[in-house]
Every structure is written in C-alpha cells, then in structure tokens.
C-alpha cells in the first residue's frame, strides 16, 4: 500500500499548497485524485515521487509510506527503484530522442530486465512497437501520451502515478487511454490517477479523492462520487439545482456594503 499521511507542502517557503492531506492506494487498485486547477494534485504526485525540490517546494509535515516504510526522505531515483513510477503531466516525451531511447531511459533503474519490460510495453502499445526508431517529437499527441506511460512502466513499477493522461486528447483517445489504464492495472500495477476529466477518472477507479485548495474535501467510492450532486456540479460542470447557490453576480453587493461599513 502506498499511503500519504497528513502531508503538508510549502513552495518557496511561503506558499502553502497542501494543507495536510492523506490518501491511500491499495495494492493493485486504481485510485482517482480529482480537483480543480491549482488544487494541489500535481504537488501531491511530486511529493510522492520526491521531486518537490525542483520547483523549490518542501514537505513540511506528514509522511509518505510504501508498505509502511517511509519514503519521503529518499531521492527520486531511490523511489523509482522501490517501485513507484510517474508519468508527468503534459506527456513530456523527450522530443529529440527516438521512441526506443525514451523507453530505455525509463529502464534507467532497472536495466537487467530491459528486454522483458520493453516487450511488455510494446505489447500494451502496438503503435509504438511499429516505430522504435521514430523521433518521439513527431508522434501524435495520443502516441506521445502512450510513450510517456510506457516509459514510466519500463521500471516495472508496483505503483504507477499518472498526471492528467487525458489532457488535451480527443475523446476517442481518452477512451483508449482509459482502457490501457485498466489493462495495466489488470497486469497487477496499482494506479494513482490524477485527472481534470472527472468522468473518465471515476469510471475506471474504485475509489476517489477530491482535493480543493490543498485540502481533501471528499473521499468516497467512485460510484458514490459519480452520483454526488456537488461533484456533478463542480467537477462535471453541471448546474443542477442552480438557485440555492449564491450567484457571483449577486453576491457582490452584499460584500461591498460590508466592506464600506467595516
């Protein structure tokens, strides 16, 4: 089990991004982490992977554990070796390198079983198998996303962290990516899926967390979340009842008066 307990993250010593969040990814499960832009989803993944310092961030409280062992003080490369691998937001394939080189990089910490893992990845992504010498930058968006996921799989991780894999992809491709996530999970890898596309994320995951400005506000089975009115309104973008919620256009006068009086 990969677990975060009461994690607090501060950027540049002043900006508090995570205000004590906890979440758990059980072995072999898919867990979704949802939330608006800037809520701290990516920061959560960074904290797990140990790459906060790149952006001048620091974990000031809490712990990240893997099977009960703390991993939050370890280097990024150690964490990968222990079996937690991440595909970053925005694909981030190395555009100048070939498909195969990108995958070989993924195997940096796990070189001995390079062939085996490469076969597994090519099995998941037949598109990539057809063009190992292709320059990654010329792949289509969907293929790049597959390469990014494949690269993360090259270390044969027990837990795969995916940051917005559906970002900027056509609905059809989103579905394809979704199926792949299911397949990866079927092969035995736990997945922590961070998504804006709540619809997609909640249909594959067993459990979902919702993060809002650095705090976990909801923590329920995915099926329940899908039915939740608030989730439908805020994360699926549907106005439901509408009227009982204050409109931003109306709220102003009240606030304004308050301000003049104070």
């Amino acid at each position: 089990m990969l677990a975060l307990k009461n994690v607090e993250v501060v950027y540049h010593d002043v900006i508090l991004v995570l205000r004590g969040i906890s979440l758990q990814v059980p072995d072999g499960a898919i867990v979704a982490l949802l939330g608006a832009n800037g809520a701290g989803k990516t920061t959560t993944l960074r904290a797990i992977s140990g790459i906060l310092d790149v952006q001048n961030g620091k974990m000031t409280k809490g712990e990240v554990t893997l099977d009960g062992q703390r991993i939050d003080h370890l280097s990024a490369s150690k964490i990968v070796k222990l079996g937690v691998s991440q595909a970053l937001e925005g694909r981030r394939v190395l555009a100048e390198l070939t498909v195969e080189e990108n995958l070989r990089l993924g195997a940096h910490t796990n070189r001995r079983r390079l062939g085996e893992n490469m076969d597994r990845v090519y099995g998941l992504f037949p598109d990539l198998k057809q063009r190992p010498k292709f320059i990654a930058g010329y792949l289509s968006g969907g293929q790049q996303q597959m390469l990014a996921i494949g690269r993360a799989l090259m270390s044969a991780p027990r837990y795969l962290l995916l940051d917005e894999p559906s970002l900027g992809l056509a609905p059809m491709l989103v579905q394809e990516i979704r199926d792949i996530i299911v397949e990866i999970n079927r092969q035995g890898t736990g997945v922590l899926l961070v998504e804006q596309n709540a619809g997609m994320a909640l249909t594959v995951s067993s459990h979902g967390y919702i993060l809002e400005t650095g705090k976990m506000v909801m923590d329920k089975a995915s099926a329940e979340l899908l039915k939740d009115e608030d989730v439908r309104e805020f994360y699926l973008g549907l106005h439901s009842g509408g009227d009982q919620i204050r409109s931003f256009a109306e709220v102003k006068q009240y606030r304004r008066k308050k301000r003049w009086l104070s």
Binding site: I15, A36, G168, G199, L202, S205, A223, F248, K252, R255
Partner: protein
C-alpha cells in the same frame, strides 16, 4: 474621506456595445501541433466575454496571439479597427490591451506600488534625461500617476500591502495585484487568464466582484479565461467554448450550459455509465 470610484481615476470604455476586438479565422501551430485552429470571435465594449475549454484547448494561446507574443500563421486580429498581426507586444499594450497571466507574472522584487507604477509606464511622459535630473516634469508626472495608482490600490483594497514586496504576499493577493497592474495600464480591453485559479471561495468572490465592478464602472471589454464554471456562467455575457484549439460553441451562458458538444468536451463521452469493471478491485 469619500471612497474613490474606479472611473474617476481611469478612462471609461466609451459607447457601449461597439466592437473593439475582432478575431478572424486564426490558426496557430507549433512544429505541426495545432494550438489554435480556425478561431473567430468579436468582443464589444462593456461586454464580458468568457472563453472556456479543457486544459490545452488553446485559450492562453489566443491571449498570446492577441498580445503579440505569438504570431498566428493565418487569420487576422483587429483591435479598434487596427490590425495587430506583426505588431510588437509593447505597442499592442500601448494601444490599450492589458492582461493578467495564468502563472502570475508580477515582478517579485518590487513593491506592490512599483508593480502598479510599471503598469503606468506608457502614461508617464518624461524622458531618460529628465529621469536622471528628476526636476520638474519627471517629478510631476510621477506624482500625477501615483494618484491614479493609489486610486486602484483603494479600489482593490490593497492599502495595507502597498509597500510590501510582492514576493511576500499570499497567492490570492498576488493575483489581485496583477489585476491592479493590468488596470493601471488604463486598458480598453482587459484579458484575464484564470484570475481565480487556485483561490478559495472568499477570494473567488472578491475577484468576481472586482471584475463585475470594473466592467460596470469602466465599460471596457473584458475577455475572461477561466475554469471556475460557476463564475463564468454568472458573470459572462457571452461564452465561447473551445476544444483542441477548435471552436465548438458560442452563446449566452445558458445556451452553452445546455449545448451537448460542450457537455461532451468536459465530461468525456461516457459520463453517466456505470464504472467499468476492471478498475474496481
């Protein structure tokens, strides 16, 4: 002391409902990847025009095209009748287009006041030699523009932090300062790139009120890019929905909310179906 109203320090947008920005069939791509693909729209004075769409849909790219940071390969952008393509960003700013940025682009080593004074750059009429001597004109101009800036400080409720360094301010206040800096430019068109991203409800409400007031007091055109749907739907006159750089719908907030294409772009195709089996362990 009577509270200053914004229009007492800044020029108004002029007659309501006049077209100020025309974007026509703009195409922009980076190394073959299409970021903006055939986008057209018009913004009027006294209009709050919202652009929505998933991440990577090309919203910020449209701002960058209007600001002159990117040059679209095809199409035209006209501001108050003037073609903007190929015009340098600083000139475009001078024509009366101001913006805020998705990831705050304030000058962190300067005070709030200095950041706002930077917004007044084009309104400070004195040369380098006058700046060095600092007599007469330079001094007068600094004082005159400082008054405008103080008006904006008051409007945005920034008085307590006027002389604080921006880097020391919390995120929500920084966003507000950035809005102030854009206002200080006395724009005819204001472009706001995710002004409430990462804000809590109270900060979001404050920001909504500022945007609302700016629009009613100044009557300038405002383009708003935002993910916070509630705010967009409450404030906007017109909503323009984009997906993968392509326009999918334009209309009033209620029209957009009920547009099936828009719903699909946000929800993914299978929303509503039961969770697929594989994931549930």
């Amino acid at each position: 002391m009577r509270a200053l109203r914004l229009h007492e320090v800044l020029p108004a947008g002029g007659e309501s409902g006049r077209v100020i920005l025309e974007v026509e069939d703009v195409h922009l791509s980076f190394a073959g990847v299409k970021a903006v693909d055939g986008v057209s729209f018009r913004v009027h004075t006294n209009e709050l025009f919202a652009i929505i769409g998933p991440n990577g849909a090309g919203k910020t790219s449209i701002f960058n095209c209007i600001s002159g940071v990117y040059r679209p390969q095809q199409g035209s952008i006209r501001f108050q009748g003037r073609d903007l393509l190929g015009v340098r960003p600083d000139r475009i700013a001078g024509l009366g287009i101001a913006r805020t940025f998705q990831n705050i682009e304030l000058f962190p080593q300067m005070t709030v006041l200095d950041n706002l004074m930077l917004g007044r750059h084009q309104h400070l009429n004195y040369g380098t030699l006058a700046a060095i001597a600092r007599v007469g004109k330079a001094s007068r101009e600094e004082a005159r523009n400082r008054e405008v800036v103080e008006g904006i400080v008051e409007f945005l409720g920034l008085q307590p932090v006027r002389k604080s360094y921006v880097s020391m301010l919390p995120y929500g206040l920084q966003k507000r300062v950035e809005l102030g800096r854009a206002l200080a430019m006395a724009p005819q068109l204001l472009m706001l790139d995710e002004p409430v991203a990462g804000m809590n409800l109270e900060e979001t409400e404050d920001m909504a009120r500022f945007i609302h007031d700016i629009r009613w007091e100044l009557g300038i055109g405002i383009i708003l890019v935002e993910h916070e749907m509630r705010m967009v739907m409450d404030l906007a006159d017109t909503v323009f929905a984009l997906d993968f750089g392509r326009p999918i719908a334009v209309g009033t907030p209620s029209e957009i909310q009920n547009n099936p294409d828009v719903i699909r772009a946000y929800l993914g195709e299978e929303h509503g179906t039961a969770p697929a089996g594989g994931g549930a362990a």
